[in-house]
Amino acid sequence: MNNNELITRDTVPEAARSVAEKAGTPEGREMFLRADKDAILPLCRALHDDPALKYNFLSDITAVDLYKQEPRFEIVYRMYSIPDGRRLWIKTAVPTGEEVETVTSVWKNADWLEREVYDMFGARFTNHPDLRRILMPANWIGHPLRKDHPLGNEEVQFTINKDDIVPQTAFLNEHFEGMDFAEYVERGDEINTFYGAANMRKYEQEGRIVLNMGPQHPSTHGVLRVILALEGETIIDADQDIGYIHTGIEKTAESLIYQQALTLTDRMDYVAPLMNNFAYVLPIEKLLGVEIPPRGQFLRVMLNELSRIGSHLIWLGTHALELGAVSIFLYGFRDREILLDIFELLSGQRMMTSWINVGGLRDDIPEGFTDLVRYFLDVFPSRLDDYHALLTKNPIWLERTKGIGYLSREDALNYGVSGPILRATGLAWDVRKVWPYSAYEEFEFDIPTGENSDVYDRYLVRMEEIRQSLRIVEQALSKLPEGNYRIEDYKIVLPPRQRLDVSMEALIHHFLVPTHGFFVPAGDAYVSTESPRGEMGFYIVSDGGTKPYRMRMRSPSFSTLQSLPLMSKGHLVADVVAILGSVDMIMGEVDR
């Protein structure tokens, strides 16, 4: 059954009949609905509960500010039917000052997603259990992603403008409620700490121990704050406070042309920067309607999988370090250095290469590149065996990871958990197989799954994923097609350097493309990719100009992190470290 047959006026309940607009692909795997805002809750409930529809996975809720238009906000829901591999988008228009019913009762991960929409846009959700700010400081004034919220930047100083520059502190002085910036520096921690722990205060009143962990903690993988309620040393409840590295990337991207915004994406999920580039360019290329030549696609896949290995090596090193195995950390970083050498050879930069860009890659692979990748493929498998020998049957490792952090498959889906953690529950759901992008359908690889859905199984799944990634890199290297590594539309990519001497047009393009950018047809697009942490994708809204009207990243860890209380209840304090390690979140991508 496909969406076209399933979603009819008869299947959706009475209250949701005002579905105004319906569009989809002919085969019915994807569908787009525009619904009335009062119909959202009954419609979502029907989509989730109906045994034929089975929309059991909420991928994302986000909003677009259509400034100076009414209704002002457009809220976008994106959901999947995991068993059937069907996708559905729902859009609804919300006028200023009006509210839309929350869907937290349908999918659990709607909680944080709606809080983020509230924090960033000020759009409110009726009956939301806990509608607080999530990323910004507690006493921040304004909602940053609204178009009328200033960017808050400080201009670069030159001789011509040095007298006109407004310092950032002047902006900040006006944006904290009841205090200026200097006072916020002194007292802000107190305010944010109190605000962020709102749900846990009841335990303090009950006389239980409430333990704060982070944001400065060696094993929270960055600046995450976890608040634990304890009975003795056993965790009875937990809550997370995020936003300590909210960087405003989505806002800044709106003021940059598409190629410039690309460099910001590197810094979201900073242990696998190339994957962000990849995920970012796919929806733009979809809007532009360009097809990347096979060589470009294969190289992209190869770089993507090398990044995945690099990311998993950092996960392995830090996860093991936190549980006391220091040597694995040193080994993991030793092997990652080879990967960084590969990227450095390619681009001159170790981490933030921005090498995958709209239309293909920035340049073809240099001389010696394949030799270095081949060297990695030669030495690494035996080292991976060593790590298995060090950990997989190690009694201390087993003691710390087996049976810890259980998450059932139903809960995982309900919380929007994807990636290795979902696969550890035994469900072989991988975007690379379900909705292949780029050239993934041409590669042979398996999807490792677990059985027990604990920290140990997640470890095994990731270790096997490294091996599968090696297989993909090997295939990409041996089957690497000849031809161009990028498209030949010189309104989008720079023309070759040598053409500048002979072609006036090439000279113009060489000037226009970097300074003015390229025009992207109006519309919106979203493409899912499989990052080391799960389903990652960029939602790009274009108004036909050279800058994105809205850029949104669907962050995998953002959803996964919400299930942390569920995973840690009943375990000891020390187990939280193991569970956080197995979640492998990168806060840069959670907070963006």
Binding site: L135, M136, P137, W140, P144, H149, P150, L151, G152, N153, E154, Q168, T169, F171, H175, Y184, V185, E186, R187, G188, D189, E190, N192, P215, Q216, H217, P218, G222, V223, G243, Y244, I245, H246, T247, G248, I249, K251, T252, T263, L264, R267, Y270, V271, I314, G317, T318, F329, L330, F333, R334, R336, E337, L340, R350, M351, M352, M587, G588, D591
Partner: protein, 154 residues
């Protein structure tokens, strides 16, 4: 420092001895903020080996650290936390601002990132780069050691 070969006596100015001890055993605070923290970890790992410069003892508690490496963008919610951590470190203490974001907010000139950690705490050495290579961080550390040796100036 003067050293007598026979009797095992060392004659030196107390200041020099103290500074020698301070610069040879910097204990950085284990504070990772963003991308730069990954490169900071790489600096501490086997290839670049921060231990060669006596600064490998990363401490998780500010009470035991005397060097703060601000490794990454300092965002609004983290600003007061960073200030508090600095205040909690015992004197004498030093700060390395690692990377473009910590020094000037780098590519993220916006409402969420403080443009320069030096707005809230004094910085001794700025390390450029986005993120800086481990060699650059090591260079920054050596510069800081030189600064300590000379009594606070370069």
């Amino acid at each position: 420092m003067l050293q007598s070969q026979q009797s095992g006596i060392v004659l030196a100015r107390l200041d020099d001895v103290v500074r020698w001890a301070e610069r040879s055993s910097l204990w950085p605070l284990m504070m990772g903020l963003a991308c730069c923290a990954i490169e900071m970890m790489a600096t501490a790992a086997s290839r670049f080996d921060l231990a060669r410069f006596g600064a490998e003892v990363f401490r998780a508690s500010p009470r035991q650290a005397d060097l703060m490496i601000v490794s990454g963008r300092l965002c609004m919610k983290m600003v007061p936390v960073c200030k508090r951590l600095y205040d909690q470190m015992p004197d004498p203490k030093w700060v390395i601002s690692m990377g473009a974001c910590a020094s000037t907010s780098g590519v993220f000139s916006n409402y969420a990132v403080l443009n320069g950690v030096d707005k809230i705490i004094p910085v001794d050495v700025y390390v450029p780069g986005c993120p800086p290579n481990p060699e650059l961080l090591l260079d920054g550390l050596i510069k800081l050691q030189e600064k300590i040796r000379q009594g606070g100036t370069l």
